[in-house]
């Protein structure tokens, strides 16, 4: 199976191969069409593009650095490891790229009110930040369990005058927050833009989020060519819904020599059932508007998931990742909670960079991978966010109260 030219997907039905589509209640169909039309117009509108580029530069701090992690490389004793420093973007993660893009679109469409879901709180913070700057009302849905374990980000959102609504259903994590955000959107669709934070949901969201996040790979590709005069051998990124990964991968999809590796949350191990490794252990199904791999039981009920990182604790995944997996263009692996903690400490200790728990999964895998490769090879790791928010979780895992 060959991978269609990246730019050609999704097709006009919102499909990446068989994956994607628009599986939503009828009430939302026209809004999805409106959003797609607004986006297709905006992305060729010089004024819109210039405004977004200006904000990405002056407000979000782009381009983010590409850093040669010399100490980590020496520690692993193999391929050279580069970090794409999305942790240095404003608000501390890649989420700001998409939040800015979609908020400008919402403004363009005249939507007064913005809603979002959040898991780790990074997308909620990014959305609340952009709404504060643009003067929009902002409501963020967050699972009650995530509110507990990401308290710092909850307070940040409230400082930014966003309304944070706790969701008590199900496992009280990201999936349940998305259900509730969709219910809000169904009810208030005419005044409200739903600013989805990952490359999931009905068409056109997976395309929209990918395009706004593809700045990561576009910059990284130019930066690595500048630094090394060649492309990397691997691009490694963590995958929950998959927005930083698709953003990092997209520009490289056509470069056949570049291996793309997505790292999922293996939690307590794939055999334990306590994980969020959708592409490693799921099968295709429909959740939150699109057909994609899904963690589900034999009756099609969506499984409860687990991960130490709230941002990866999700039973679905973006449809383009499902496509890349089945087309064998990208490979997806799982890293456990314990291994992610090792990655967290390893990068903190060797490079003085405290990563978020989400990309700590990718750090662990990239370190393992680099150790098996010769020194002339290059591993490019997307460091999607910084770890301040996770310090209490990491301390608790070590039995320390902070």
């Amino acid at each position: 199976m060959t991978v269609s030219k990246a730019a050609a997907l999704p097709d006009d039905r919102g499909r990446f191969g068989e994956f994607g589509g628009k599986f939503v209640p009828a009430t939302l169909m026209a809004a999805l069409t409106e959003l797609e039309a607004a986006y297709r117009q905006a992305r060729i509108d010089p004024e819109f593009r210039q405004r977004l580029e200006s904000l990405l530069h002056h407000y979000a701090g782009r381009p983010t650095a590409l850093y040669y992690a010399e100490n980590l490389t020496r520690h692993c004793g193999g391929a050279r490891i580069y970090l794409k420093r999305e942790d240095l973007a404003h608000t501390g993660a890649h989420k700001i790229n998409n939040a800015l893009g979609q908020a400008l679109l919402a403004e363009h469409m005249g939507k007064e009110r913005i809603i979002a879901e959040t898991g780790a709180g990074q997308h909620g913070v990014a959305t609340a930040t952009v709404c504060a700057m643009l003067g929009r009302r902002c409501v963020v849905y967050m699972g009650a369990e995530d509110i507990r374990r990401q308290a710092l980000n909850v307070f940040r959102m409230r400082l930014l005058e966003a309304e944070v609504i706790a969701v008590d259903a199900g496992t009280r994590t990201l999936k349940d927050a998305i259900n509730e955000a969709i219910r809000d959107w169904v009810t208030n669709v005419e005044t409200t833009h739903y600013l989805i934070g990952s490359a999931v949901g009905p068409h056109p969201y997976p395309m929209l989020v990918r395009d706004f996040q593809s700045v990561i790979g576009r910059e990284a590709r130019a930066q690595i060519l500048e630094a090394e005069g060649r492309l990397p051998d691997y691009v490694v990124a963590c995958v929950g819904g998959g927005s930083n990964a698709i953003g990092a991968f997209y520009e490289f999809i056509g470069d056949e020599t570049v291996g793309l590796v997505g790292v999922e949350a293996g939690g307590g191990g794939l055999d334990s059932g306590q994980h969020s490794a959708t592409l490693s252990a799921g099968r295709p199904g429909v959740l939150h508007g699109s057909l994609s791999y899904l963690l589900q039981d034999q009756h099609g009920q969506v499984n409860e998931t687990h991960s130490i990182s709230a941002g990866l604790d999700y039973p679905g995944v973006g449809p383009e990742h499902s496509y890349l997996k089945d087309a064998r263009r990208a490979e997806y692996v799982a890293v456990s909670d314990a291994q992610a903690l090792e990655g967290f400490h390893l990068l903190s200790r060797t490079e003085g960079i405290i990563p978020a728990l989400e990309p700590s999964h990718a750090v662990h895998h990239a370190a393992q991978l680099a150790a098996t490769l010769p020194p002339e090879q290059i591993v490019l790791l997307c460091l999607s966010g910084r770890g301040d928010k996770d310090v209490p979780t990491v301390a608790a895992a070590a039995g320390i109260e902070v």
């Binding site: 039905r13 589509g21 628009k22 599986f23 939503v24 209640p25 009828a26 009430t27 939302l28 169909m29 026209a30 809004a31 069409t33 259903a169 199900g170 999936k175 259900n179 969709i182 219910r183 169904v186 009810t187 208030n188 669709v189 005419e190 199904g285 429909v286 959740l287 939150h288 508007g289 899904l294 589900q296 034999q298 009756h299 099609g300 009920q301 969506v302």
Partner: protein, 273 residues
């Protein structure tokens, strides 16, 4: 060819010159035995057709009441096969009442569309309302349902544009399910401010009867709907009653509500309480 209960029922409603009443039950709430008792009782109390859910873990088009009933059913382990078997079991008791499955897509996708449509037909289900499968995505399911004479009923909403209406109508048979409001399922005191004028946009595309659901909880709503459409669908108000009634009162209380909604005297003549 099996008889077309939906068509016959709507013809009868039209001849009687009254609004039809469709009621919704969450299968397995409070338990499967209760659902088995409720179906013939509600048909006797004045329900023209009955929607039965296949409980799904993530009911994102439903408000709090139907969510609660769904989680209650799932906690008891209700499966898609339980729902299908229940229809087969009760079919003979309500030979003329259309029984329609209202479901999210994933349980039936997981079952296998062909296998599901086959079982649906065997069990005597008359139609399927797929909540999160708009006309634009309904073709694979339609292709399995149509040859087996199972009606497919995609939903439409006040926000539906002409393209959405055309896509839904192209694959609909039996009737068209129109949502009265922009929102999740849930009882409202008043019908949508926007009114029901938009139903005329749907009628312009199809001769099929229209049913209107979401937010309907009183007899007066049913009568209002009757001015624009052929039937009203009631879910949340009925489920609220089912959830709030002591187990031994569930059937009686639900039947009483349905009789009120149908504008029938209660207790029904010859019925006992």
């Amino acid at each position: 060819m099996s008889k077309d209960r939906i068509k016959e029922k709507f013809n009868a409603i039209r001849q009687e010159g009254r609004p039809g009443l469709i009621v919704y039950l969450t299968t397995g709430c409070p338990d499967l035995e209760a659902t088995l008792e409720l179906i013939p009782a509600l048909a006797a109390a004045g329900a023209d057709a009955i929607e039965l859910s296949i409980p799904f873990s993530d009911p994102l088009a439903d408000g709090p009441v139907i969510q609660e009933s769904t989680f209650h059913a799932l906690a008891q382990g209700v499966t898609p096969d339980d729902c299908l078997d229940l229809v087969a079991q009760v079919r003979g008791e309500v030979p003329d009442t259309p029984l329609i499955l209202m479901t999210y897509y994933n349980p039936i996708l997981s079952y296998g569309l062909e296998r599901f449509a086959q079982r649906v037909a065997e069990c005597g289900v008359d139609g399927i309302i797929p909540v999160d499968v708009p006309g634009e995505e309904a073709e694979p399911l339609f292709n399995q349902c149509a040859p087996r004479n199972v009606h497919l009923v995609p939903l439409l909403a006040p926000t539906s544009n002409e393209d959405n209406i055309r896509a839904a109508v192209a694959l609909s048979s039996g009737f068209i399910y129109c949502v009265s409001l922009t929102g999740t399922t849930g009882a409202q005191n008043q019908l949508s401010q926007r009114g029901l004028e938009w139903l005329n946009r749907v009628s312009a595309h199809t001769a099929l009867p229209l049913a209107v659901g979401f937010g309907i909880s009183r007899r007066e709503h049913v009568e209002t709907v009757g001015r624009y459409a052929q039937a009203a669908a009631v879910g949340t108000a009925l489920i609220r009653t089912v959830l709030d009634s002591p187990r031994d009162q569930v059937v009686a209380q639900a039947s009483k509500l349905v009789a009120e909604l149908a504008g029938q005297p209660w207790p029904a003549s010859g019925g006992t309480l």
